[in-house]
Symmetry: C2
Subunit: 147 residues, 2 copies
Amino acid sequence: MKSPAELTDTFRANGLKVTPQRQLLFGLMHGNTVHPTAEALFAEASARMPGISLRTVYQTLTDLASMGELRLIDVGTGATRFDPNTDDHHHVVCSSCGEVRDVYVAGSDRLKVDGLDGFQIEEASILFSGTCVTCASDTVSRASARG
Amino acid sequence: MKSPAELTDTFRANGLKVTPQRQLLFGLMHGNTVHPTAEALFAEASARMPGISLRTVYQTLTDLASMGELRLIDVGTGATRFDPNTDDHHHVVCSSCGEVRDVYVAGSDRLKVDGLDGFQIEEASILFSGTCVTCASDTVSRASARG
DNA sequence: TTCTCAATCTGCAAAGAGTGCGAACTAGCA
DNA sequence: TGCTAGTTCGCACTCTTTGCAGATTGAGAA
């Protein structure tokens, strides 16, 4: 995703207005690597701008996504997450705490896929799931505490 | 997923009862390749057994999934889909009509993944998305009809 | 700087997907 | 046949996201 300053220009160039709410969200998303949900962003935004509405957060995120500045990701934890990293990458999710990280996969072009049946593929997304370091060590400590 | 007869035994062996509702759902899911949603199964089930409740459909599907007889899949179309194919496979979804097909992928063990950062991976799922044959030809016909 | 108006913001209602709960019902063993 | 734990069903409710409408405001024009 572009920098807040660049986004300001892009929005104006597209006939969209640059409001304080949008600027705040540009800043909160830029360089953000935690893959927040709309609700999480709303909480952060509210702390800095009391009164901002959840509706506006959804609206702005949707705008950014339709401009290709943001990727919407669904890791099966209920709410959609937003990712400002628009590189070609995939994700890994911790099935215990829900943390999501970006992963880069090489060699996916050499996969042999059977059953595509005439589908014209536009995209392939790989989702890894497992246990993150923190949750793995928590499990270990609980186990030793228990026994 | 096992056959309805085998599931009957498995359920009883696990102390679960075999009701007409469950038998109906065993039958509807066995060999089912369309990846139905709970709502879709409920519609089919209702046609054969008026009065069956959506709650029971969810209940039974959840039971089957926790016994490993069914896989829950989320292709990002809103509702969870249920897949009686428990082989090691992946999915392709048509972004136009939502159709889901099973695909088999070879060579995924040779992928180079960067960024796993200590995660203990338990699963990797690949979701392809694109346009199915039917929707692709529909687009073509509409284009030619248009001129 | 002021004016204007389309774009935006906010709050609320509502839709879609699932889940929790409790009363009524029933499969399956004794 | 009776008993009882497991089920079913319907309803209320949660959660996420979207639709709507009136009030507000950004930003180009005057």
